[in-house]
Symmetry: C3
Subunit: 227 residues, 3 copies
Amino acid sequence: MFSFDTVLVWLDLAGVFFFAVSGSLLAARKQFDILGSILLASIVSLGGGVIRDIVINTGPPAAFTNPVYLLPPLLAAVLVYFLFSSVQRYTSLLTLFDAGGLALFCITGTLKALTAGMNPVAAILLGVTTAVGGGLLRDITANEVPELFDARDIYALPAFTGSALTALLWQLGLFSGLTAGLVAAVVFTFRVTAWRRGWHVPLAVRGWHRLGAASGGAAGGESRGRD
Amino acid sequence: MFSFDTVLVWLDLAGVFFFAVSGSLLAARKQFDILGSILLASIVSLGGGVIRDIVINTGPPAAFTNPVYLLPPLLAAVLVYFLFSSVQRYTSLLTLFDAGGLALFCITGTLKALTAGMNPVAAILLGVTTAVGGGLLRDITANEVPELFDARDIYALPAFTGSALTALLWQLGLFSGLTAGLVAAVVFTFRVTAWRRGWHVPLAVRGWHRLGAASGGAAGGESRGRD
Amino acid sequence: MFSFDTVLVWLDLAGVFFFAVSGSLLAARKQFDILGSILLASIVSLGGGVIRDIVINTGPPAAFTNPVYLLPPLLAAVLVYFLFSSVQRYTSLLTLFDAGGLALFCITGTLKALTAGMNPVAAILLGVTTAVGGGLLRDITANEVPELFDARDIYALPAFTGSALTALLWQLGLFSGLTAGLVAAVVFTFRVTAWRRGWHVPLAVRGWHRLGAASGGAAGGESRGRD
């Protein structure tokens, strides 16, 4: 029905849009202006892909050569501008859109690396980098401790799962628009459930307890409250 | 009088120097030492161009292959070291030098992309990235919310204006040392006037008021006071 | 005894491991979880080399194409997880491992640039960038003012010394596994002694005194206490 390349571009653009909305929502929460909203949306939605394309090293990044990539950040900033004042549950929304971007970018990042001839391990690594890179840039730029490092839920593991599944399906010759959709659904559900249920993995050091962590940890902060 | 390439290199070096001074001034304000001053000056003045050259992807960035690019950061750190103690109006100075760098980098960034064969939309985008990239790196490195996102004045719009004018003049065959100077003057005046007068655009969300913004916004902080 | 390339790869991997431990130690101090520990270890240990390889621009970075580079961050996170709870002098440890990474990366970074045909000045610059890049990324990612800018001791000068010595030995045809080890020992000793003794260089502005600096400086903070 769809050609392979068409599926890839649409998945990528959908991921760009989801991350762009998460950028504009953070801009709204930090009371940036509308230009700052467009810029933060651009950085978060295009940053991961730019890093990916620079690493693959086959010419200028798609975000710079294909102007269609500029539309999602503009659209996201406009949507947040008009709709956000009536939708106050911004942390939930930010996490949901961020999870959508994560689910799609781990697939497209892994796939782009595989089609460029990189080995599966490198492709998985680049898929995870693409997926978490945009959100990392968003939080660094907005001067926050990245969500990636928030010990209260799981962020990188869903991306790793999605990248590994994508590489596996590709190696088995089973990758298609349908299986891509299934992988995206698994990653999205994994990420959102981990966030809702507060699933977490052990801290970086054995024997520190979560309660004790509240007193001095940089990861704990009132700005991460779930509304 | 001057060849085209000579104009481009001198504009670029002047932009590097202006941004380098802004880096050294921020280093002084944050009480870094003289080595930190040289390093922050280097990051802010060379960072935007390194990103530009990596994206254009035609060999190692100019800052690494042409040692003359190392002189402006050294000069800036020395000047700030000897002159700053008697000139306390650092925020004004930082903004003026930053505006000078912005005015020149949006031109040279756009031009380098156009001469590398990129389309005008990509060239404008890369010009804006080059112009705002250095300042963004400066503020991220020094652990501040980037000035780019300060809702109290306008930062990215002048750079966009300069990049768009440069691309337009180039397409019309009217780009020269003279018109480049005019574009730089327009961008500089736009940026500085926006800062002096507190021109601003709407916030990222409709219906939030500027007064209300003071209570919880990360963009508002005592470190941004205008002296 | 060893071929030249073997020496280079082993030095590079040892540097990766040292920086990875420093990343996992910072993750422990900031109470990130074990995944955040692996990620921060990966960013700090592979980030400098990825920047180096992107600048040299001869294909995808080694960290993405050679899976062996993924082992040191995993190993570091596991070691810190099991050993750190009984070793509380984390700031000393972090500085020692960071100094080890610094000592090796300024050598391997300079050498990779020289063997890629860059001129000595560019090679020294890239060596310093490789050596300080990882630590800079670590501190930016963890939302701290980079140690690079801490006015209370010297960080970049040892890296510069090591890079310059490496380039000199290379030009003289005296670079070998033995002289590389000597350079690494000099850089490590210089860095650690500067830190222990509190050697410092003048501030970015003449006439500001260190005592006065305590009241308003961003570089001074309780998180940098030496235990």
